[in-house]
């Protein structure tokens, strides 16, 4: 868990860094942003709680074999398209997303399809969108960003087809 510790150190280090800059602008600025941040936190926590505690149940009812099956052995652009749908539909956190990618790769899935899957999952896995992005950001921005992101797993798969395997 040293990676998690490192990330925590970086994260809180950044908070103290920008907090110090804000404090040097004057205590009122510091206090106002401290209050703003705490209010954001209080307002966000119920939704995060719902998402984190609820996501276990959502993940439990979607069988992972279904998603791995979709990725299958390489099947050209149709396979890429199903990989994109599978990436968006994958529930759970990064462990599940990357594990499914690894399983698909090991069980003979095409590399461009797996890349499309991982990129689609990173860009718009429904659970991260509803659990993290919508609570923090204006919903209009979130839907717009997801819509604009749709072509890019295909672009990544195309690049993977051109430059070949790792």
């Amino acid at each position: 868990m040293s990676a998690a510790l490192l990330i925590d150190i970086l994260l809180w280090g950044s908070v103290f860094g920008v907090g110090l800059i804000a404090f040097r602008r004057g205590p009122p600025v510091f206090k106002a942003s401290l209050r703003e941040g705490s209010m954001d936190f209080i307002n966000t926590v119920p939704r995060i709680a719902l998402g984190v505690i609820g996501s276990g149940y959502i993940a439990a009812i979607i069988p992972q074999e279904v998603i791995t099956g979709w990725l299958g052995p390489d099947s050209g652009w149709l396979g890429v398209a199903t990989a994109v749908v599978a990436g968006a539909a994958t529930p759970g956190g990064p462990v599940i997303g990357f594990s499914i990618g690894t399983v698909a790769l090991k069980s003979g899935g095409g590399v461009p399809q797996v890349v499309a899957y991982v990129v689609a999952w990173a860009l718009f896995a429904f659970q991260r969108v509803i659990l993290w992005e919508i609570p923090f950001m204006p919903a209009r921005f979130v839907w717009f960003r997801c819509a604009v992101s749709v072509p890019f797993p295909f672009v990544a798969a195309a690049i993977a087809m051109v430059i070949g395997k790792p």
Binding site: L6, D40, V52, F136, F144, P166
Partner: protein, 203 residues
């Protein structure tokens, strides 16, 4: 806590700071309701399949996960609030606004790539950037860059699970995507909302 108005953090005392554009956020929107319904249905299905023990297993696991995440959510919210306070608004709208061109998209991409932490950092900071004058294009570049080429998730999850070769190769493939996504976002946004865009320029 019962005051949902986002627009009055410190009325009198921060006279020297610039007026903060309100970050309007409804406590419970339709998204929350849909998620709650989805969770309730899923939990009921788990209960039918695995009984009360199955439900409790998942609950205890997710509660401990939630406890671990909470401090990071707080850190992310504070980071977002401080950043939106200390970034000079005119400078942000010049270097990340609708007129910032390719340079704005590149700055957004670089910012997303170096941002520490997970979703609990990226989204509050992105929201702060939007509030201080970044346009949709630059913010999309930042979010997409964080998700595709940011080191946080790659180091913590992707390299251990998928291996270093695949991860680095996937990141190289992803390098052009944030700028392309931001560019596409800007291109579509200007055509969808031509009026809003000129409003932003007017201030």
């Amino acid at each position: 806590m019962s005051d949902p108005s986002p627009k009055d953090p410190a009325p009198a005392e921060d006279a020297e700071s610039e007026p903060r554009p309100g970050r309007v956020r409804k406590p419970i929107g339709w998204s929350t309701i849909i998620i709650a319904a989805l969770v309730a249905v899923s939990a009921a299905l788990v209960w039918r399949r695995d009984g009360t023990d199955g439900v409790l297993d998942i609950l205890t696991h997710d509660l401990s996960l939630f406890g671990g995440i909470l401090p990071r959510v707080l850190a992310g919210c504070l980071l977002g609030a401080f950043i939106s306070e200390i970034l000079p608004h005119e400078k942000v709208s010049r270097s990340l606004g609708p007129q910032s061109g390719l340079k704005g998209l590149l700055i957004g991409t670089a910012f997303g790539a170096i941002l520490p932490g997970g979703p609990f950092t990226a989204y509050p900071v992105a929201s702060a950037l939007l509030a201080v004058g970044a346009d949709f294009g630059a913010t999309i570049a930042m979010v997409v860059s964080w998700t595709l080429i940011g080191y946080g998730r790659a180091v913590a999850w992707e390299i251990p699970i998928m291996g270093t070769d695949f991860t680095l190769w996937r990141i190289v493939i992803s390098l052009p995507l944030p700028v392309l996504a931001g560019g596409l976002g800007r291109f579509v946004y200007v055509r969808l909302y031509p009026k809003r865009d000129s409003d932003e320029e007017a201030n």
